[in-house]
Symmetry: none
Subunit: 194 residues, 4 copies
DNA sequence: AATGAATGAGGATTCATTCAT
DNA sequence: GATGAATGAATCCTCATTCAT
């Protein structure tokens, strides 16, 4: 039997290794060689599969985003209708999001998005999905769901940033803060948002 | 006696050049040589005055933070007491903050803070000042000024991040969104924040 | 499958080139680039195989020491028992030892041994072997072979130093001087050495 | 009063600082700036007085040699005639010779002498003086004073080298070994040296 | 006399990437 | 599919040295 279907396995190993190495290094200052070695292959093969370092990192980021999306969907699946927005917030500040490698990846991602169109596109997709999820969740409960979703999404990002730079413990505080604002939005009668 | 007092002039030129080059490159992927050349001197002199690339960037970031602090103070000076929080928000989303070089610098700064203690310290100082300013402004108006300040500060960062990655035009929207949340905080009667 | 087994070939070429370049320059003030170029490869490859300049030099010194050891063994193999010490002396002042590159390498080696633990270890190994060889050779002939070996070893180093700084011609004189002291040691009846 | 006669003072300070820095660094890898700073002046002034780094080091070496010469003369002055050679040996292994900065300076000196004519000349002067002193001391006591002086001088250098690379404690052993060889030379009846 | 200012030149090292096998 | 081999290009940093004042 020839080695069939090695490609997906290799790509997978590379993505995992990338995330792990970013975590270990605290930034994208990781050599392709290290990543490849951790993934158990030569750096040449890594290039063969991905074409270049940026593509490897992008694939890793795609995975992080996908995983996060799955977590959100899982939370959403079990949430009662009027707790759906809260569920999204909880997922956003879950421990898994504050793993050092995730934090470093996110920061790197933001920098990259300044220059790399693919990274920017990826970020926009994440944004849209986030807003869409929140919008859906808020639709039955508030007057202008889209506007409130935008605010909450931004707040989540901002709180994440802070929690990431302080110690991860503060993620619980961040959760409470975001939930409080959510609560406020839900009970505000008339708001001049946007 | 030799030529005297060049140091502050050179440091200044270097800081300016650094910010400009970061803007042009979109990241910290700028050589010390380029920065020095733009500042009209040799890279050796740049090293002489700052000791290394990171120190140069840190000095640039310090300048950005200082300038921002001055803008905030200026806005604060002319604001009527119960508009002080709004003034801070407006300063945060002023056009000057969305200059491409500022955005790139901020993103780089966040990445750097993951690993560089000096950068982290600098960021914490910025944070504290921001929160302190907001807290002062809110003290007479709300029950728990510290908590609301934390939320607003995070929201500002989050909105900035988004605006930065969308086109800067959205800064106006960001301003309105932040002001709306501020308004809400001011009129909320009882909130379970924190 | 890739080209294989280049490593030993490259390392070898690099070691040869290092010795040659040191000879040409008269000291270790040789760039890795020059060495690599002489060895027919890029400096990057040199670093790849050795890790750094010091390691390259250490490898070169190891080779010099190994070659010298081989010469000593060869002389020893053909010497009649009571001429073994003389054989070692002759090997020590052989023309091959006074090649300019060898001399420069030795001098550099001594300096390096002041600071570099690996170099110091290497030197100690050389020392021990030298003394051990002399000791063995003298054992049947003198009362305190170890002491006399130490004296002879030091004398050899000292005479080498001088010959190296005068012109290499003096190596013959050095040989005679060392043999004379050897002779004296062999005929001394009672000595208060050590 | 203008600053009169600063030159000798400055030169002196520089020479002291050079020796001290070499000791601290373990080699000649010392910047002129550091030396100058330790001597309490600018590096520009150091260049002004000496012309360049090599000259500074040469001056330092000259001082080391001069000091050593003085020590030898002092020992010689108090020694009874037939102990003069022993006195020279003792001076050569005095503690002052094994100060780390002296050792490092000597090693560096040997390397330098490979390429630098001035250094070589200086070394030759040291050699000649050493041999001359020993020769004088041995003249009344042995048949071929010049030959024995050469052997002793070489032995001293060789033993110094070893002691320097082992710990300085061994200087006492070195002294005894050299004295033993001296003793042997003094009592040997017929020797075929040279 | 003395120095801050300034630099040219260089040098070790790193790494993404390519290629022959 | 897979990799050891190989490198070009870049970058930070260092330092002896010069010069205007």
């Amino acid at each position: 039997m020839p080695k069939l279907g090695m490609e997906p396995i290799r790509r997978d190993a590379l993505v995992n290794a990338t995330i792990a190495e970013i975590g270990a290094a605290g930034s994208l200052d990781v050599t392709v060689s290290r990543i490849a070695k951790r993934a158990g292959m030569s750096s040449a093969l890594a290039h063969h599969y991905f074409g270049g370092k940026e593509q490897i990192f992008l694939a890793a980021m795609r995975r992080i985003l996908t995983d996060f999306g799955a977590e959100v969907r899982a939370e959403l699946a079990t949430a009662v209708p009027d707790q759906r927005a809260a569920a999204i917030i909880r997922a956003s500040f879950a421990q898994s999001c504050f793993a050092p490698e995730k934090i470093s990846a996110w920061m790197t991602f933001y920098v990259m998005a300044q220059n790399n169109p693919q990274a920017l596109r990826l970020w926009r997709i994440y944004q849209r999905r986030m807003r869409s999820n929140l919008s859906h969740a808020l639709r039955p409960l508030v007057a202008d769901a889209a506007a409130d979703a935008a605010v909450l999404a931004a707040l989540i990002d901002g709180l994440y940033l802070r929690s990431a730079l302080h110690d991860p413990e503060t993620s619980q505080i961040a959760t409470r803060q975001a939930l409080a604002v959510l609560d406020m939005l839900l009970h505000a009668k008339a708001r001049p948002v946007q």
